[in-house]
Symmetry: C2
Subunit: 199 residues, 2 copies
């Protein structure tokens, strides 16, 4: 066996986040036959690890074992320099069980005010993991740096996108077109590494 | 780039455990140029993940980033069925800072007595991770099932080896020859998967 993802491979996408699933599908360029974890009735494991790659791997391995298929998982989040990297791996948890990112973005703003932060630098990380059932797992990580802005701007994207202006642009990830975001995002950068490693 | 470990590659072995380093060197069959993390003065990161593969990956990634070389790390441990998988990822920690496995093995025995356990089944897990600097990480996991015996028997091996009788044998990992252990151990099984994936 070589560690290679052949075109047409049936892949379980181990995310229950619709925004992420859509972005992964766009990025995967119809190269694979994608099945969602939800459609297979897979249970989403607790994200107990302390790193993005650890959690992505945990999710991919769980989905691969439960489905018997090769699985792809993402773990990603926003890290704010003045908040010592928070919310980081807790980015989704800051949005609560209702995935209310309007509230999560307010929380980031409030924490920056509390800290009297002058530095609004932040970065997005995306870890992607591929796991073979009873076999190896592969992880990669992509990152994009940028600056936060308040109030949130734009209705595109998802999560913290409306407060994040990527370096080199003057609009937030919520304002640019999905295809433009897919070309430069942390997820696209992680995916480029995955492609180099496994395609 | 293909995910491949070419013969002769310079590899940092990210373990500060002499027993593990020796076993890895034996298993790697002189295929690579091995450098120990200790000889490079690398700091050993805290093992903060909740899984063997997570911790192996954490150590390999840290060593790869610090050294600029491809890194190989192991995380392994003993899981006891009647103790709900303990000590598991805490196997080394049960031995304390002085790495006193005589005490750690007594602790396992005491816990089994407290639990009035009839079932002495246990298994060893070895997770191996390879990480490329700023690049992907690959993990595999091997496992061997067996039965615990007290008091400890044999001076060979290391860690919990003297209380572990692998299935199919009547001697502990502390009693059999290193080369015999290398042929059947959890670490050998993990390594066979790594070989299939990357050699």
């Amino acid at each position: 066996m070589a560690l290679k993802l052949e075109p047409g491979t049936r892949l379980v996408v181990a995310t229950h986040n619709a925004g992420k699933a859509r972005e992964l599908a766009e990025i995967l360029e119809n190269r694979f036959e994608l099945v969602t974890a939800g459609s297979l009735g897979l249970h989403e494991p607790d994200e107990t690890e302390t790193t993005f790659v650890g959690n992505a791997l945990l999710k991919a391995r769980a989905a691969a074992e439960a489905s018997g298929l090769i699985a792809l998982a993402d773990d990603s989040g926003l890290s704010v320099v003045a908040l010592d990297g928070a919310p980081g791996i807790y980015s989704a948890r800051w949005a609560g069980p209702g995935r209310n990112f309007t509230e999560a973005m307010k929380k980031v703003e409030a924490r920056l005010e509390e800290a009297r932060a002058q530095d609004f630098s932040a970065w997005f990380t995306s870890a992607l993991a591929v796991a073979w059932p009873s076999g190896p797992g592969v992880v990669v990580e992509g990152r994009i740096d940028g600056t936060l802005t308040f109030p949130p701007r734009g209705e595109k994207g998802f999560g913290y996108d409306p407060i994040f202006i990527p370096e080199g642009l003057d609009r937030t990830f919520g304002e640019i077109e999905p295809l433009q975001k897919d070309g430069i995002s942390h997820r696209a950068r992680a995916f480029a590494k995955l492609k180099a490693a496994l395609f």
